[in-house]
């Protein structure tokens, strides 16, 4: 400090910044402040190590507008919190959560609340700093060595020379009447200019330039071509030490990574060595009876009807007359079409059930194979239902019981 004062002295007399009075207790300072206030000064201030309650009134300081700033920030934070959630979850990328409406506000309250608090807190601290003109790196008072005690145990009062009522003699007399410990002149600061120190500037330039290097490297890498694969910074599980099915593996004679099953391997349940059940044959002939595993019951017939209506009816029609929707449409288009068989034809009525089963399983003429799509017992159920359909169109009086026949007469 004293060094800078010496430099200042060499630079010639600096203009007066103000008059500084020092006190050692808050009571004396508040008394002095009242006097200065009553004398009508505008550009003056007191400096204390801690907030003194009641000094605002003694100095005539008006209530700060900071709460209004914080209030506005709170509203902005609230709006931002609500909009953020609405625009992202209910508008741009609609999240369907448990069938709830896209915008169900109670679930959005916590984040809107947190955002309100966050914005207001920044406004409270930021507003305090801005209204207080902080940060303030240099001040003429810093040249006074004694002023360092303002953050310790001393109380100061400064009247600035720029005040309209300032008069070196009168102001000094006013301050003397407040019985300060010390009364001193404060000169303008000519040494600690508001220029940023050169060392700091150089450091900032170097740091700024250095911080661009990574970005420059990224940009260069994007623009340049390279033979090498990209740098894979985070591997996750992208590269795993394993062989994939269709790749080569030199460990085996045939160089395949995939191992073929041993010849004759059959998957569990895939043996299907029952000719009657799976192929509809008994010995060398078509089966004329249902296999042992298929129960001739109303329940099976019902399954057969459901499967028939799904797989067969589109072509053969619901009643089996060969007039399904596909057939009708093909007739309308008239582009050449082999019509599906009418299932009530005599030769089909007389076919053994095994042959019908085979037709469904492997297809016949233009009809494709349905074996891969329908389970064997369901195919048998369809056969049973087809038989029932055929019977419905080919029954005679002989099929009725005695009582029914007499009922008809």
């Amino acid at each position: 400090m004293s060094d800078t004062q010496a430099i200042q002295a060499e630079a010639g007399p600096a203009p007066l910044h103000g008059l500084l009075a020092e006190y050692d207790n808050p009571t004396a300072l508040v008394r002095a402040a009242k006097k200065v206030r009553d004398a009508g000064y505008a550009h003056w201030d007191t400096f204390t190590p801690f907030p003194i309650h009641g000094i605002e009134r003694a100095m005539g300081i008006r209530m700060t507008r900071l709460p209004w700033l914080v209030f506005v920030a709170a509203l902005i934070g609230l709006a931002n919190g609500v909009l953020l959630q609405f625009l992202t979850n209910a508008w741009d990328y609609k999240w369907l959560v448990s069938g709830k409406p896209f915008w169900s506000w109670p679930a959005n309250v916590p984040i809107a609340f947190e955002m309100t608090i966050l914005y207001s807190a920044f406004a409270a601290l930021g507003g305090m700093l801005i209204f207080n003109n902080l940060p303030l790196p240099a001040h003429p008072l810093d040249l006074k060595e004694r002023f360092a005690r303002v953050t310790d145990d001393r109380f100061f009062l400064l009247i600035e020379a720029r005040d309209g009522k300032f008069d070196e003699v009168d102001t000094r007399r006013l301050l003397e009447s407040t019985e300060p410990l010390l009364l001193d002149e404060v000169l303008e600061d000519r040494v600690t200019s508001d220029k940023i120190p050169r060392a700091l500037i150089y450091t900032l330039i170097v740091a700024g330039a250095a911080s661009l290097v990574p970005f420059a490297a990224f940009t260069a890498a994007r623009a340049r071509h390279s033979e090498k694969p990209r740098i894979h910074a985070i591997w996750d599980m992208d590269f795993q030490p394993k062989f994939k099915a269709q790749r080569a593996n030199p460990l085996f004679d045939d160089n395949r990574a995939m191992r073929k099953p041993v010849a004759g391997t059959v998957a569990t349940g895939a043996l299907r060595d029952d000719d009657h059940m799976y192929r509809g044959r008994v010995g060398d002939a078509w089966a004329t009876t249902y296999p042992a595993g298929v129960q001739v019951t109303e329940e099976t017939l019902r399954v057969g009807r459901d499967k028939y209506n799904v797989f067969c009816a589109p072509c053969h029609g619901f009643a089996g007359e060969g007039d399904g929707m596909v057939h009708k449409r093909a007739e309308t288009l008239g582009q050449g079409w082999v019509p599906p068989s009418n299932l009530h034809q005599e030769y089909l009525r007389l076919q053994p059930v095994g042959e019908l089963f085979n037709s469904i399983t492997n297809g016949v003429r233009n009809m494709p194979a349905y074996g891969p799509q329908i389970e064997p017992d369901d195919r048998w159920a369809i056969v049973m239902y087809v038989r029932a359909l055929q019977r419905s169109r080919a029954s005679g009086l002989g099929d009725l019981s005695e009582a029914e026949r007499s009922g008809l007469k």
Binding site: F47, P49, I52, T64, P110, M128, V150, T151, D153
Partner: protein, 455 residues
């Protein structure tokens, strides 16, 4: 503890001819002494060892994957989430002391608020690490923030886990702002007392050119009041939101409406216990007995007793509601909690949280630093077990017995838990040495000499 006094630079008489200067000296000499007491070095060495363990175990988890922890099906939220809730809970006392006691004009808080706030921030730092690693791919937590991305996706804002991000993030930010703002005048004191250029520069930057103008003090106090008023609902919201992670789920043992107030009470309870655990040695080793007096410790003991009873009430009420609900899964969850295979954890929790603080009914006990310290440690253990009990016992045995399991932590689990204390204590010890540990300006305003007697 008496051995420390002859080698401790902080035990001599205070410099200064008035009360203000003595407060300044009492706090500033911690930073100004060429060497801190030997206890500081011992504590720092121990903390750094734990911190190294923390780094190693987290590095191992990141490298190897979270299978390194003891998680099993169905206990997918093992130690990391227990530790997260534990540390976030610790982080509540700081802001409570700063904000709520400030609004209630409890002036005694001035002696302890600064380091309680510091404790808050360090605890929140410890807390934030755990979910960050627990997500399994610690390089992707930014997916939880609303950043426009090439997938065109946004976070799911109706998820309590997403609320957590905002609640804990806001809490950490506001706590830091509140803490920093309170320190501006004290940094100015440090700046004005610093002898070396580096210190002048660093403390000068932190003080932002504060010179104690009354016009500035006026706005400063208004801003501090506003921040306190904002932080009060915030502190209540944060642990409520943390409790929503559990309460909004369907799991018996988690799905309860009592959780938000119960978690907040538990957080205050655990946080105060941590404050006394830190305050008792700090006031001894840093010579702050004139500032953090027995009265402060006694008042905090009373708060621990009161909040401990609140927590005990919550334990009882949970049991009652489980029975009263008539839901068999709910009833089983709570019977299993107390008498199932995690019963030992439950009774540890009851002993530490409900029974141990009862000694504070006796004035003799709440004025004995050893008892206060010991109960504080027990309560911290108990509060850790509370989270363990809630998380692990509920998950381990849910609806289907076929789905049951038993969680056994791995070595890495223990290392990360112990290591997080290393991070916490390292930060705290650095704070003690380099940052004003007591709010000097506020202290000065509250002593009788600080009042002007003219109005």
């Amino acid at each position: 503890m008496a051995i420390a006094s002859d080698i401790n630079p902080y035990q001599g008489a205070l410099k200064g001819d008035n009360a203000f200067a003595q407060i300044t000296d009492n706090v500033s000499r911690i930073m100004e002494a060429p060497k801190p007491p030997r206890a500081w070095y011992i504590a720092m060495g121990f903390s750094l060892m734990l911190l190294a363990m923390f780094g190693a175990s987290l590095g191992f988890v990141v490298w190897e994957g979270i299978g390194a922890w003891g998680h099993i099906h169905p206990v997918a939220w093992g130690f990391p989430i227990v530790n997260f809730v534990f540390w976030v809970g610790i982080g509540h006392a700081g802001t409570l002391i700063s904000a709520i006691l400030f609004l209630l004009r409890q002036n005694w808080r001035t002696a302890i608020n600064r380091f309680a706030e510091a404790m808050t921030i360090f605890a929140v730092i410890c807390a934030a690490i755990f979910p960050g690693v627990h997500i399994g791919r610690p390089w992707l937590p930014y997916w939880m923030t609303p950043i426009p991305n090439q997938m065109g996706m946004w976070p799911q804002f109706r998820s309590p886990l997403e609320w957590d991000i905002f609640a804990v993030g806001t809490y950490a930010t506001v706590s830091i702002l509140f803490w920093y703002m309170g320190m501006i005048p004290d940094f100015a004191t440090f700046r004005d007392r610093s002898k070396t250029t580096v210190r002048r520069l660093v403390y000068g930057l932190l003080a932002m050119g504060w010179r104690g103008s009354s016009r500035q003090w006026h706005r400063y106090e208004r801003a501090y009041l506003l921040l306190a008023a904002l932080a009060t609902p915030l502190v209540l919201s944060v642990h409520s939101v943390v409790s929503f992670d559990f309460a909004t789920s369907q799991l018996p043992g988690w799905h309860t409406t009592i959780f938000p107030p119960y978690f907040v009470a538990g957080a205050i309870f655990g946080g105060f216990a941590m404050v006394v655990v830190l305050a008792v040695p700090s006031r001894q080793f840093f010579g702050l007995k004139r500032i953090i007096t027995m009265r402060h410790l006694e008042l905090m003991s009373k708060i621990i007793l009161a909040t401990g009873m609140l927590v005990g009430y919550a334990y009882g009420m949970e049991m009652f509601i489980a029975w009263y609900s008539g839901a068999i899964y709910e009833q089983f969850a709570f019977v299993n909690r107390a008498f199932g295979n995690y019963g030992w954890a439950y009774w540890t929790m009851i002993f530490c949280n409900v029974l141990a603080p009862q000694v504070f009914w006796s004035k003799k006990m709440r004025t004995n630093v050893w008892v206060i310290f010991f109960v504080g440690v027990l309560v911290n253990v108990g509060m850790w077990f509370e989270r363990f009990v809630i998380i692990c016992t509920s998950l381990a045995r849910d609806f289907l017995p076929a789905n049951w399991g038993y969680f056994v932590p791995s070595v890495v689990d223990y290392a990360t838990l112990a290591g997080s204390f290393g991070l916490f204590f390292t930060l705290f010890l650095l704070f003690c040495r380099y940052i004003p540990m007591v709010a000097m300006a506020e202290m000065k305003a509250f002593i009788p000499e600080g009042h002007a007697h003219d109005h």
